[in-house]
């Protein structure tokens, strides 16, 4: 670069920088330190707090529900549906009008304790699904809706998923999924894993996805509402 015509006093940080940018190794180390600080403040505390405890009634996904969660991931449902209800009246009213989830029906940390990965989503093109089990408890409705969303809701812009009913569940993959999840801390017993094979026999991806949708929010229903 050309020399400036007006000689100017170098400031302290310019002198520092001139020293630093001729020492590449030191420059790289300082850069690394600068970028690590924010992460070090924000991430280790999560591990120091220990694992988030599941809510009292929260149960891990059954083999079929887990296979459904895999289908949910495979089809990228979370790009359009959130699974997180924020603590606003207009969100809780929309997804829990009957107050079945108690006086504070927004999403709590414990509800996601078994979720690897989390599937909160970042865009709500379709409605939130956190409480789908109580909003649309009918399996038949979900089958129809997946096959042809426009038949169930005329204005819907959801893709149709006709192939789900024709695709059998990959049983081996689901069993491997349960084993992998038990490695990262989801309490699946050996008995559960070995019983899974018969639970999954003859089931399709549509069966699994519907089972998953009907699991969403089920374990978070307030006890008094559940016994009603």
């Amino acid at each position: 670069m050309s020399e400036s015509k007006i000689p100017k006093e170098l400031t302290v940080y310019e002198k520092l920088s001139a020293k630093l940018d001729s020492k590449a190794l030191r420059f790289t180390i300082f850069t690394t330190i600068a970028i690590l600080i924010g992460g070090l403040v924000e991430i280790p505390p999560f591990f120091m707090m220990g694992q988030v405890q599941p809510t009292d009634q929260q149960k891990p996904y059954s083999a079929l529900e887990l296979a459904g969660r895999n289908v949910y991931q495979q089809e990228g449902c979370f790009y359009c549906h959130t699974q997180l209800i924020r603590p606003f009246k207009w969100e809780t009213d929309r997804w829990d009008k009957a107050r079945q989830y108690g006086p504070e029906p927004y999403s709590k940390a414990g509800e996601f304790a078994y979720d690897h990965p989390f599937l909160w989503g970042s865009k709500r093109t379709g409605p939130d699904l956190s409480h789908e089990s109580t909003i649309r408890p009918s399996a038949a409705w979900h089958y129809d809706h997946l096959r042809n969303p426009r038949a169930a809701v005329s204005q819907s812009i959801m893709p149709a998923y006709p192939w789900l009913e024709k695709t059998p569940i990959d049983v081996a993959e689901t069993l491997a999924s349960m084993r992998a999840l038990s490695v990262v801390g989801v309490p699946y017993s050996d008995a559960q894993i070995s019983a899974a094979e018969s639970e999954l026999a003859g089931k399709t991806q549509a069966d699994a996805l519907v089972a998953y949708l009907l699991k969403l929010g089920r374990d978070s229903v307030a006890p008094q509402a559940a016994s009603r």
Partner: protein, 476 residues
Amino acid sequence: MQQPEYDNSIVRGWVISAIVWAAAALLVGVLIAFQMVFPELNTSLPYFSFGRLRPLHTNAAIFGFTLSLVFATMYYAVPRLLKTPLWSPVLSRVHFWAYILTIISAAITLPAGYTQSKEYAELEWPIDILIALWWVVMCINFFMTIAKRNEKHLYVAIWFWIATLVTIPILYIVNNLAIPAGLLKSFSVYSGVTDANIQWWYGHNAVAFVLTTPILGMMYYYLPKHTRLPIFSHRISIIHFWSLIFIYIWAGPHHLLYSPVPGWAQTLGMVFSVALIAPSWGGMLNGFLTLTQAKEKLRTDATLKFILVALTFYGMSTFEGPMMSIRAVNAISHNTDWTIGHVHSGALGWVAGMCFVALYYLVPRLWNAKLYSERLAEVHFWLATAGILFYVVSMWIGGVAEGLMWRAVDAMGELQYQTWAEIIDQLKIYRFFRGLGGLLFLSGFLVMCYNLVKTIRASGEGFEPVDLREAQPARA
């Protein structure tokens, strides 16, 4: 001193890779934009449904198109700025082909439904390992080149690329730790709230260290090269570099406001996001003030116009972002089309804009031919700018409308729009215009492709850089 031998063939490879993946990203982008208006476009084939094409769109745009040009620029500029040939041409080729293999695997596995379901980190574990490997190969090559340089001082563009080189692997590895459950299936080792926190620490810094710092490096390289004028202020460069890389890392939790992530983390994310305005605008101002020194050329030079618009959109989206991370604004904007508009004002305006600058600068020099048509470059510029405006404005209006409809209550405190379908229906028109904006942007891109192909086919006819400091004769 004698000019060292520079290896242009590797840069040419990256340029072609960028154009191919940009075409894929933009085509898929336009298709999925219209899928949100005409759901029949999803067809009954799994591979063409929205949920499978969306990760293909983002990965092709970010890691296919943008990263290719970042690498093109690095392989072109780093040896020249350090007055030394690249340390290892072999490693540069290993990097290139391993990268191409990665992106091809992404283009196959994503539509086939194999995904980790983490935004911008969808690729499954074998591909992740491949990425880590070529990133190491690339780092070795660049740091060795830096080590044996013939120019003592590292130019500011190189600072930004060093920040990219060291930060991406840290973010990528921590976020992608997973237990495999098969060749193309794995589960994040983190659960729920922790997983969300780490994902957005990564996700936001993919924006920082893939879509911001290397692009700023491109701005610091191409702007002075193209105008043959020095950067306005070295002082601003120093301050905004260090503050930018320090602050950006903290901003992730603004994606998780009002979620069960602890309040302190949300507040930190919000505060640092707001603070990010200062370093971001430092970079923008440094660019603008450099540009004003060559302002009379803005009328005739399409590349400079792209830099101007890119900087404008950088300034706009780095103002918008901090605003959206304020809790009260986030309550309306989060989960709506507004977010999509915000992302694209950065991605189409700033990132793609600077990438086009890189292409218009590099292609004539790499193939030693004059740009086929300045006028077509001008056409591209206007199509792209109009496209972005269509896109962003329709998403702003649609997004705010969406957020307001969700929360609208009547006098009795009942939700005014009880059914979701009602809201979807009203957003249709904005989403249609968004698709048109994308289509305009895509057509501008195709004009550029034609222009560049014509330029490449004239390869070897000779390239004379125009000195933008001198008055140019009026064009016929």
